[in-house]
Symmetry: C2
Subunit: 712 residues, 2 copies
């Protein structure tokens, strides 16, 4: 279903047009009438004329079948009107009324279901209900249903704004000078889903960057597919994911009924797709505007040059760069000598540079200094400490004029104007500077954080990620969880090429004696039972068993202890294998997220995971580079590189294992959870070994034998 | 030397008064003439009249001896003018000219030294050189030497601003509506030091909160004394410490020549004194203004209530609270029932609350909801998601009017108005709201971070800290470092009551044999040498030695290995003692900071310190509560509380040891560095034991024997 008629209708009917200020009918009429490229008809059976236009009594009286109907009437009247439009052949609609599924009421849900059916039957793209509308500042069509101050005649394009909150969308729109291509308030998002709008924006060349206010997705596969397309096309997606906290998730779900989902899963998805995640609206807009203004002229390197007018501002600049680990490349003696031409004798040439008040108003010196930075390849862009606010102070104006003059003289690197304090930029200078690719940043701390996010975006390489959408959540029909014994789990993994070692389950001490010559001492002996998850806790483990006699005794004792400590547990026998040589302990796991499918988790054993939560997470499947990056991202990764005289570990084999396990998870949709703990990582060249394995499968009731009521 | 004549002069001479716009002479004349409570004389030998006033040729021609002289002339003329003023009996001066010690030039340094001498001789309080001046908005005296837009007739008082950068001070002053009592630009700070200004503000009741832009301190003892006074008086000190990073420190030192110092030491000092540390100017001003506006009405509990007008804003509010671990107390069923009276049926009563657009403009409902929060004791204040900017939007105005009306009706809890985006607040509403103790916050993320800093400030208890100023930096005359052997170090510590175990140095294997019946096997045997710091590395350690024969052999081998691996090292013999029972490993250390004296460091052994840098630091001496808090602050403290079946550890004994060691460091100014690694912490009730000890002393050359060239 193409969204063209919704995003760029050539003709619009405002159904329920009104002149009551602030009402959907009045705002819709006013806004749509400002559309440059669409014919607008106002429909109201009780008024002959509205907003200086003759009205129509019903949709059927219009002189043409419109592309899009804006339904401004209350909840109960929406469906008949939509049906009328659909039957006339209208293929798109915007519904503002609330009171549907977001209120969790039976009639609201039923009405929205009917709306969905209607949309399906007639192939109609319905935005909403409970939305604030859509603005297309590319084709100049305004389908917004609330007060809207955006002037499409003057507003530059660039950002595709997509918000699961009309109020947030309105807030965004009110940002002076924001470069907007589209604003979409997706409302309940059950008919035209957010995911489809995202896909549309991903494909539209008029969108340079996508700004997403996201409470939750419905269709994870479609969502990740769109993110993949954006990643490959190098179109930045900035997301403010709301509902990160438990309280926030509750707030989000009581808002539009969205499922906020598992925040860690979203984080992992965002990292995989190079999505820039921000913490607040100010960061969202600063990032989006930065990309819109830079356009195709992203910096070529991640280092920054700093230019400030006082020692204080310069020191704060250096400290904020340090806080966000932004690189300030040092200057060569030659660069310093060149800088000295433009600064007083008592000033110190350095990066960042305190150019001192001597620079106040001196355009030539400013350009001279910018020229030094222009020629240093490690410096991708220059931050200029300056606030060009509405008062247009003399010093600020001179700095801004110098930046503009630098552009005229062919200097090309991005400049970021960084004010110390919050405020309102001068609209005149904002327009002048942004037209030249000069970015007006938010106040300093936010500014440097956003520059760090830009650095991260630049460092992201889609080719280092397996962007095959997997997103296979658990089959909802498969409600039962089967726990496999360690032996079964290892057999499955072993067949998949995972190094699990040579082990066997013995049913009796006699069987063990009979196989005496196969045993390679010392042995590890562990109870084999699908009902015992923590084998050590119930006396089910004996390690370092050194001869047959000990082994027979251990066999008997293990069964005794487990019978005593876990009465009723099904005991298959004892799993016996040679003791694994001790290696560095890794923990590898898979959890199937209810939305994004299997996620691979990796961490180092012991306090690393348990005290410091030093783990990395990625949606499956992952590729080799991704596995390496995940290992690297662990703070404990120093241990892999050889710590305190310990050998360098076989990270390659660990990465290979991660890739293999991630593929296993993708190919086995019944896998609900996998826990390889520990995995021993041996010195370089000597591989890895899975020492213990726990596997949980989800399956329909009839499939397995060892089943429990699912609760995950 | 009282600073009264400098901070609140009754008569002022502007020496070098001028009418050249932007010059010190012109700005000083204009600014000082606006002083309500001081007589101002303009001195200029070449002009008869300036700024509508008759001028005086020299200071000696003035009709009175002024309290304070503003010296607006260039560097070379400053000293004669200061001398003239001093000889006339003037007791305070402000010097704007730069080119002194901050430029590191020989003549600049010499001139500043002369100025210091003059100040000392005549008891003159000289602010500067290289400063921007001082504003006293309490007594309405303006000694600022640069453009100044601050209107002392209308500006409320509250904050004492103290800045080691004139530019930053100007930036701060330009903040609309900031409640300012004083602004002091301390310049080079070698005559009237920053520390004295801080002390003045600490004692002045007209200062409710101190905002400090700090590059470095000169007199750590005076600095911490002032901080201690502020902490005890519960006067908040907010500090933006610049020069936190290496690059930043370099930038700071080339600025005013201040020593940025060790950032970790500053952090530790700030924590001890409850100083609120911020990252940028916006946070500094948001925090300072918050305290100024709240005045004596700080919240009574740290929990927050949240009131928002949309689901989106509400979710972001919840997430930001989560990010900064701000507590949003849950609502009782009764509270929820009360809330339901004021929100639509489809809305969900919760904290934070999405009151929905139904609240738009409804003052009664808004007050109703505030009333619910007013009665919940766990909620100390309420954040209201709203931006009251210069456009004074209808919804915002209604919310603000509701807040004002709530005050009229006796509601007392702090309200924090939190805008989503950066902008400029409406001056009219800012004034109205702040007068009622309602705080206009910076944009959301900064706002919630500042509320978290407020929470931390509220949780700080001066009585849980030993605020005895110690600040005993190493004696600069003591340039030589003596390394003590483990035995010597332990003997000193043992005499101080530190549990070090029973050990003895044997000079020969024969001596060892002779003491056979005193030995309690198994033994730990370690080389005793002041030249060997890492005993294991050169084969100088043997553990678990189980009988005399083994011990004799070990003795010989240890000496052999050390002779081979550390040729030239002085070998005292072998330190022999019973093996210590294994306990949880703690690392305890002391480092003498060059400014703040001895700092105690504590961390858990192994990866905790080495990979995660999980350490806590505090200036000595510390009290018992402080020791407990330091241990608690470690992420690894879970191990002390009994981790994975391990016993609960004797944290009390560990805390006691920390206190004892901190006192040792204070009482022994020669102690340069102490490293107790490991300290074994035994199960509860069984104490601690120092297993190894390294001690470095600083002393004059003649004092010791085992000495090396100091390099610390």
């Amino acid at each position: 279903m193409s969204l063209k008629k919704l995003f760029a209708p050539r003709s619009i009917a405002v159904v329920g047009a009104s002149d009551r200020p602030g009402s959907f009918g009045c705002c819709s009429a006013e806004n749509s009438l400002r559309s440059a490229s669409a014919r607008v008809y106002l429909v109201n059976p009780r008024k002959k004329e509205l907003h200086g236009q003759s009205t129509y009594e019903t949709l059927s009286r219009l002189p043409e079948t419109v592309d899009c109907a804006m339904i401004c009437t209350p909840k109960q009247t929406v469906l008949p009107l939509l049906r009328e439009a659909a039957e006339l052949g209208t293929k798109a609609a915007v519904v503002f009324a609330s009171g549907f599924s977001e209120e969790h009421s039976a009639d609201g849900i039923a009405l929205e279901r009917e709306m969905q059916d209607l949309a399906g039957k007639y192939g109609m793209s319905i935005l909403g209900p409970n939305c604030a509308g859509l603005i297309n500042n590319v084709d100049k069509v305004n389908l917004w249903g609330m007060n809207c101050s955006l002037d499409m005649n003057t507003r530059p394009a660039g950002i595709g704004v997509l918000a699961q909150s009309g109020f947030i969308a309105s807030n965004i729109m009110a940002r002076p000078g924001l470069h907007i291509s589209y604003v979409v308030s997706s409302g309940n998002g059950n008919i035209v889903p957010l995911e489809d709008c995202l896909e549309y924006m991903t494909e539209d060349p008029a969108v340079r960057v996508i700004a997403l206010y996201l409470e939750g997705v419905r269709d994870a596969a479609k969502f990740t597919k769109a993110l993949g397309a954006a990643a490959r096309a190098r179109k930045p997606v900035i997301v403010l994911k709301a509902g990160k906290s438990a309280v926030g998730a509750r707030a989000a779900s009581s808002h539009t009924g969205n499922l906020a989902g598992n925040n860690e899963a979203y984080r992992a998805v965002f990292r995989k797709y190079g999505v820039v995640e921000v913490d607040c609206l100010e960061e969202l807009l600063c990032m989006a505007q930065m990309f819109a203004v830079l356009g195709d002229h992203l910096p070529r390197s991640t280092g920054l040059g700093g230019l400030n007018l006082s020692g204080g501002a310069n020191t704060i600049c250096a400290d904020l760069c340090h806080l966000y680990r932004l690189e300030l490349p040092g200057l060569s003696e030659r660069d310093k000598a060149r800088m000295r031409q433009f600064i007083p004798a008592f000033a110190t040439p350095d990066n960042p540079l305190d150019a001192t008040t001597a620079l106040f108003g001196d355009i030539e010196k400013t350009i001279g200094l910018l020229q030094v930075y222009e020629q240093i390849p490690e410096i991708g862009g220059v931050t200029v400490g300056c606030s060009i606010d509405i008062t247009e102070g003399k010093v600020s104006v001179a700095i801004c004029e110098a930046l503009l003059e630098a552009r005229r003289r062919g200097l090309k690197k991005p400049y970021y104007v960084v004010p110390s304090l919050e405020g309102t930029p001068s609209p005149r200078y904002q327009e002048k500077l942004e037209r030249e690719g000069i970015v007006l940043m938010s106040s300093a701390k936010t500014a440097y954080r956003c520059l760090a996010l830009l650095r991260d975006y630049m460092n992201y390489r889609p080719e280092r990620h397996d962007l095959t959408p997997s997103a296979l959540p658990a089959d909802p029909a498969a409600k039962h969880t089967a726990v496999l014994t360690e032996y079964e789990a290892k057999r499955k993994l072993g067949a998949w090429g995972v190094p699990v070692g040579d082990e066997r389950v013995f049913r009796s001490a006699e069987e063990l004696s009979g196989a005496a010559e196969e045993l390679s001492f010392p042995l590890a002996m562990k109870i084999s039972s699908p009902d015992i998850l923590h084998k050590t806790d119930c006396g089910g483990v004996r390690l370092g068993v050194s001869n047959l006699e000990e082994a027979r005794l251990a066999f008997t004792q293990i069964l005794e202890h487990c019978r005593e400590n876990c009465p009723g547990a099904l005991l298959d026998g004892v799993l016996v294998g040679p003791m694994a040589e001790k290696g560095l302990e890794l923990i590898l796991g898979v959890k199937r997220d209810s939305q994004f499918g299997p996620l691979l988790l990796v961490g180092l054993g012991g306090v690393f995971v348990e005290v410091f939560h030093d783990v990395a997470l990625a949606p499956c499947p992952i590729c080799r580079e991704e596995a390496e990056d995940l290992l690297q991202s662990l703070r404990g990764s120093v241990l892999l590189r050889g710590y305190r005289g310990e050998p360098i570990r076989d990270s390659g084999a660990a990465a290979e294992l991660m890739v293999r396990v991630s593929r296993y998870a993708v190919e086995h949709p019944e896998l609900q959870e996998l826990d390889l703990n520990p995995v021993f990582v041996y010195p370089e060249g000597r591989g890895v070994r899975v020492v213990d394995a726990l596997m949980l499968l989800r399956q329909p009731e009839e499939a397995g034998t060892n089943q429990k009521e699912g609760s995950a």
